[in-house]
Amino acid sequence: GGGSDAPASDVAGTAISGDTIKIGVFEPTTGENGGGGMQEVLGIRYANTIVPTVDINGTTYNIELVEVDNQSDKTAAVTAAQSLISSGVVGVLGSYGSGVSIAAGQTFAEAGVPAIGCSCTNPQVTAGNDFYFRTCFLDPFQGTVMASYAAEEMGYKTAAIVSQNGDDYSTGIAAYFKQAFEQLGGTIVADETYQTNESDFNAILTTVKQSEAECVFIPCSIATATLILPQAKANGLQAHILGSDTWENESIVIAAGDAAEGVVFSTFFDENDESTPMAKDFVNGFKAYLNEDAQRITLNGGTDGVAAVSALGYDGYMTMVTALASLDGTEGDLTSVNLRDALAAVNYDGVTGNITFSETGDANKDAAYLKKVEDGKFVFVKKQIDETK
């Protein structure tokens, strides 16, 4: 990271010692994003049970996960990151929610420990940070995808936006959606924001209703989604509700019930996509893993549905392991900085698609999946390819 006293090139990093490799799991398990964060952790834990060891140059190392809770809070995130570093991790996975990742980014960079953001979509996470990678697509792409779906696929001329004040994830996507939608000739007729932890949206929804927008784009947290949907229904809102990647989460459908019908959102992963058979195995395996233990079901929101973030967590872990396995050298010069270089060159076929990283550290993913809620189920709508790539 620029501005720091430790340019990426000459940090020492952490060396692997002994027969155990520590991987940090930097996720919110409490606070605003505690729910989604936990699901990502579940994906990572599952991956760890599948591949608990890695062979580097003929030596087998155990992989130990070191989990730390960043509390969905940026101040806590920096210390949480620091505590991971001090426990000797060589790589980090996470975090759900871009804000905390951005906050902790420099800490990882200064320590020379590479991090893979699994589901954080804000460009700022990887921009200007040589040590941050990510396995998902970015907000600009996602915003564009949703805008083009609304404008081209559905032919909507007017749209409303509802986003969260002070939240970089939500505001970021909203801004890109607005840009793209207006470029495609549409008009944004209402642009509303709400405060963190808001739970009453009636006034905002009435305004949206008044604006007579044909669709409303609501990039928000899972909790907000479950609140806003029933209120929209009660309010008699006719506009088509569009969501962002966070919305692929069964707890929304469970909590919101039929109020969620018809909602369309973009996501990273389609468990029914035939083109990647790995996905099928993952889905079955993961469901079995969840059902093994009632506690896991609770943490997954009371169902055995597979959240996209779990898949991304799984892929993040596997990407890390692939990079580890590709390291050469022996104990002593196996360092986190070398791991970073290995990651930059990694090529891994994951359940969410093929993963290679660009200059900035972003996965070269060019596809987003659009899904729709029908009869309480997520139904695949279409695969959207990014033409700019």
Binding site: G35, D200, T207
Partner: protein, 295 residues
């Protein structure tokens, strides 16, 4: 703004305002007696929602039984909190109890996360509350409609209780001076518990009314309503029950109309500015007792 839209906003504002009022009364009563800003009050409200999920979803009890159970459990929770976290600090500096309250608030939030996960849970449907009724062109659910009415009824009953009964007089006496109250033969612990019973009962009712049309519960769901109701209580003059009610309605209505005017981003800013302006003219809130200190 069309007239139906206007009515719609009014209804929204009055309804949410009624719930704010119910919670604000809890704040105000506890403050009135202990001079304690009970930071945990919003979280008690949140816990009440989880109780309802247990009762109706996990134990599949009918709604009328569940409501009774929820109210009882919420009241019990409040009384237990008082006994464990506040009572031992009765003779400590005010700030210590306040920190204990913050501690309870953190504890409830974290305990809820720890036990139920941070993912939102659906709030059960109470059918008769969700029935749609149509009045003068706008349709709304029963709950929206009865919330303000219930609030007014409760406020009326409470005012009678506090101003015209012995226990009410005892509450006002205890609020100023524990020792002398004891000298009058008042069992202060009982009076304080009673205050928590009322406060938590109202939080329980508020919780049912609030979550029925907003059926999603997660550990932090009580924090923002908690803060707003605290503001409502101050707005009306902390310690005053009609004040808390008025504060609740004013805040509910004003934030609704600010959002209606297209300034949703700044709705809280306006609310706070309104609060500060009111305080500048009425330094102890709208109905707050003037602190006349005889010199």
């Amino acid at each position: 703004m069309t007239s139906t839209a206007f009515l719609q906003y009014c209804l929204t504002g009055i309804s949410i305002g009624g719930i704010y009022a119910l919670i604000a009364i809890g704040y105000t009563m506890v403050y009135g007696i202990l001079r304690l800003i009970n930071f945990a009050h919003g979280d008690i409200f949140m816990m009440a929602a989880y109780f309802m999920i247990f009762a109706m979803v996990d134990f599949a009890l009918p709604w009328y039984v569940s409501i009774v159970i929820v109210l009882a459990a919420t009241v019990l929770l409040g009384v237990v909190i008082e006994k464990v976290a506040y009572k031992p600090l009765r003779n400590s500096p005010r700030m210590s109890i306040m920190i204990s309250a913050i501690g309870v608030s953190y504890l409830l939030q974290n305990l809820a996360t720890y036990l139920f996960s941070a993912l939102p849970k659906g709030y059960p449907k109470i059918d008769f509350l969700m029935k749609t009724i149509t009045i003068g062109g706008i349709s709304t659910s029963v709950v929206t409609f009865i919330t303000p009415i219930l609030t007014l009824v409760f406020v009326f009953v409470l005012l009678q209780l506090i101003n015209h009964t012995k226990i009410g007089m005892a509450m006002r006496a205890v609020s100023k001076d524990f020792e002398t109250s004891q000298l009058m033969g008042i069992k202060i612990n009982r009076v304080i518990s009673f205050t928590f019973v009322i406060g938590c009962f109202l939080a329980g009712v508020g919780s049912i009314l609030y979550f029925t049309p907003r059926p999603s519960v997660y550990p932090l769901v009580g924090s923002l309503p908690g803060l707003k109701c605290f503001i409502a209580a101050v707005f009306g003059g902390i310690g005053s029950i009609p004040g808390a009610m008025l504060g609740g309605f004013v805040i509910g209505l004003s934030e609704t109309f600010i959002k209606a005017a297209g300034y949703s981003e700044f709705s809280d800013v306006f609310t706070f500015i309104l609060l500060i302006v009111v305080l500048l003219f009425k330094p102890t809130g709208l109905f707050g007792e003037k602190i006349t200190e005889k010199v």
